[in-house]
């Protein structure tokens, strides 16, 4: 894996380029890692994946825990690794134990032997040895070391233990590191600035290719997050990539970018999709009054629409007028409304395609803003415009 920072804006936000062995093209950062379940998107079938913008959509994230009920590491090895098993040879895979959707850290059950997660197969305890066995068989392009993540309300003692444990497991994982595959050292520390700093400093001196920032999206508030993020990134070398989990919403991603994070997972697309929502917030960065959005309706909050709303029953227009995703090019709001109504799986497939496409567009605007040196304004304007819409809605009610 190769990574380089190409531009900086507002001090810490950086635009970079990451190159992974299996991907034919380099991928620009900040970028979004698409969520998968067992290596394939949750709804978008592999032959439809290629309809998403490339190479933006070529980075996928999975959790080794997805395979806790099989196939076994031995079988996965004999198939040739994850890329081979899921037939996505020209994609990059990032392995992280936590996937923010269905593999959620359960710190109460985590102990000195391993990390515990709530999964669809029940609660699983995974030890560094087992974790590394899975990583070795799956051969992801990059992987995060096993971490002990605690929520924001964990007490200081528990938080401190999580840092000590995470660093210890980091060393154990590195010791069993397979050849090939970039190791990202995990950094935790909860909501404690000092612990965050301590952990970052410990990991910064280890022999890793990048950093995975854990423990966010577990209860900390929007207000306290920036200082916690900075406590980590201020203590990391600038030349290595930083990946994070748990910052899903656009405003949260912007906080991460402002602190100097490069790679993001997001459960946002998944939750929108299963809720029947489609993203519609404008991606165009130019100052423009959008008259459509002034005509408020029950189905929209101007950032997304709820396609279950009856107002869309006869709407023969696409979700977003000039969107070039498969869904908007081929289908109407009326059809998706019908599919949701009759509980047909195609609804989720079409929504996941559109929402992924749209969110990738959001990341593209972030990169453009950084390269133009105006990221801070971009962030301010974005957050402001969303608040304005909310205020306007309150007034109109």
């Amino acid at each position: 894996m190769k990574f380089a920072v190409k531009a900086l804006s507002s001090g810490k936000a950086r635009a970079g380029v990451v190159h992974l062995g299996s991907c034919p093209s380099s991928i620009e950062t900040p970028c979004l890692l698409l969520s998968t379940r067992k290596g394939l998107p949750i709804f978008i079938s592999p032959d439809l994946l290629s309809s998403l913008p490339s190479p933006d959509s070529n980075l996928l994230q999975f959790s080794p825990l997805h395979f806790s009920e099989g196939p076994s590491p031995k079988t996965i090895s004999s198939i040739g690794g994850l890329h081979q098993m899921v037939g996505l040879h020209e994609y990059g895979f990032a392995a992280v134990a936590r996937d923010s959707i269905q593999c959620l850290p359960e710190c109460g059950s985590t102990n000195k032997t391993g990390a515990s997660f709530e999964t669809p197969c029940g609660r699983r305890l995974i030890k560094p040895v087992e974790y590394m066995e899975m990583i070795t068989s799956m051969k992801p392009n990059l992987w995060a070391t096993l971490a002990d993540e605690v929520p924001a309300w964990a007490n200081n003692k528990r938080n401190k233990t999580s840092v000590d444990r995470t660093v210890k497991w980091l060393d154990e994982c590195i010791a069993r590191s397979p050849a090939g595959g970039a190791v990202f050292g995990s950094i935790v520390g909860g909501s404690n600035i000092e612990e965050r700093k301590r952990c970052a400093q410990e990991v910064a001196v280890r022999n890793v290719s990048g950093y995975w920032i854990g423990g966010f999206g577990l209860g900390e508030s929007m207000e306290e997050r920036p200082s916690l993020l900075n406590a980590v990134t201020d203590n990391l070398p600038k030349d290595w990539p930083r990946m994070i989990c748990g910052l899903g919403l656009p405003e949260e991603v912007l906080q991460g970018v402002a602190a100097g994070v490069d790679l993001f997972d997001s459960a946002y697309i998944y939750h929108l999709t299963i809720g029947g929502f489609a993203l519609t917030f404008p991606l165009d960065r130019t100052e423009k009054i959008d008259y459509n959005y002034q005509l408020s309706d029950q189905g929209s909050d101007r950032t997304k629409i709820n396609l279950r709303a009856t107002v869309y029953r006869k709407d023969a227009t696409p979700i977003v007028e000039d969107c070039c995703c498969y869904t908007c090019q081929n289908h109407t709001k009326a059809y998706i409304n019908h599919l949701l109504n009759v509980h047909e799986m195609l609804a989720q497939i079409l929504l996941e395609i559109h929402n992924t496409h749209h969110y990738l567009g959001f990341f593209r605007s972030i990169r453009e803003a950084i390269k133009e040196g105006c990221f801070e304004q971009f962030q301010k304007k974005f957050v402001q415009s969303r608040r304005e819409h909310l205020a306007a809605d309150v007034v109109s009610v």
Binding site: K38, F43, P46, F67, G70, M85, Y335
Partner: protein
């Protein structure tokens, strides 16, 4: 009449033909996947085109319920609504009828709904009785079917854009079937379906009804055996001279974790699949068999939506490619013994 049917090749009773419908020129024999509610579960129209789907079947009853036939009409018909450029067939809505008391309404309403939905082929309302039932009910159903066909013809508002097919009923009784066939042929419909089968009757009775009907129905019009079915049944019916089939089986069985393979079925849920690194079917050229192992599909089925999708894709690919493909030799041999020669369809 809004279709052209041209037989291009024959062997004895089996025929290969071109069925030109308003939205698509189809090659028969063909299999129609069932897209009950305006979609084939989990597959996009692009994927369906890619695997060779020519006609999709929609259920009038379900569509009339949601989103309603009026809405579909207002938005330009079902083709436009679901963005399917090829052909559609809708059933009469009668199969799912609940109450017999409102029959008088349903006969014409079924056609009206189908006119609004706009499919290339629409089915006349028939009085369907299970073949496992005996007695006067079957005769009653057969005569009622004939009377209803006349009402359907009268109610059909778009004969130049939509083809009304009549359905032959009569249970397993050759005399009743004969009366029904002759009655329908007299009405000079664009095509005919053989109904009332695929409901649990024994196979030896099943093929005899199909054989009788295909012998008596006009040569130059398509014959559609409703609800069929298993690949072997399709082979037999094609040998006997049928052209069109529909069944929920391939997609439904996919959602339960079963794949269709030349040898029969493969139950991907089974523990034996856990570490099996072979593809579902090494002879299959579909995207699923080319990229995935049984072990991987096993870990998906019944747990993740993707498992259903991939298996549905494979199963439909199998059904859609298969009537054109090679017939297993053992079937040819069995047909030989039964006195039906389909040697030209067997792999040489």
């Amino acid at each position: 009449m809004a279709l052209r049917f041209e037989v291009l090749g024959r062997f004895n009773r089996a025929r290969a033909a071109q069925l030109t419908l308003p939205h698509f020129a189809c090659q028969t024999p063909l299999f129609m996947p069932v897209g009950t509610q305006g979609t084939i579960k989990g597959l996009t129209t692009d994927q369906l085109e890619e695997i060779g789907c020519q006609i999709i079947l929609g259920n009038t009853y379900h569509l009339a319920l949601r989103p309603t036939s009026e809405l579909i009409d207002e938005l330009g018909g079902l083709h436009k609504f679901m963005n399917w450029p090829r052909a559609l067939l809708t059933d009469s809505g009668g199969f799912q009828m609940v109450s017999l008391l409102h029959l008088a309404d349903i006969t014409e309403k079924g056609v009206t709904f189908q006119n609004r939905i706009g499919a290339d082929i629409i089915m006349a309302l028939d009085d369907v009785v299970r073949t496992t039932i005996t007695g006067p009910r079957i005769e009653e159903a057969m005569y009622r079917t004939l009377r209803w066909v006349d009402r359907c013809i009268a109610a059909h508002k778009r004969p130049h854009e939509q083809n009304l097919f009549g359905i032959v009923q009569g249970g397993l009784d050759p005399v009743l079937r004969d009366i029904c066939v002759r009655g329908l042929v007299d009405r000079n419909l664009p095509g005919y379906a053989i109904g009332g089968l695929a409901g649990g009757e024994d196979k030896d009775s099943f093929w005899r009804v199909v054989a009788q009907c295909t012998a008596a129905l006009p040569e130059d019009k398509p014959r559609y055996v409703m609800g069929v079915g298993y690949p072997l049944d399709i082979v037999v019916c094609s040998a006997l001279g049928a052209d069109m089939y529909d069944c929920v089986y391939p997609t439904r069985t996919a959602r339960f974790g079963t794949a269709l393979v030349p040898e029969g079925v493969l139950k991907l849920k089974h523990n034996a699949m856990v570490n099996d690194t072979r593809p579902i079917d090494p002879t299959c050229a579909c995207m699923v068999c080319k990229n995935y192992t049984r072990a991987y599909i096993h870990c998906l089925v019944t747990k993740d939506a993707m498992g259903s999708q991939l298996l549905s894709y494979h199963n439909l690919y199998y059904m859609l490619q298969f009537p054109k493909g090679d017939v297993p030799e053992w079937v040819c041999n069995a047909m030989d013994v039964a006195g039906i020669d389909i040697s030209s369809c067997c792999s040489s």
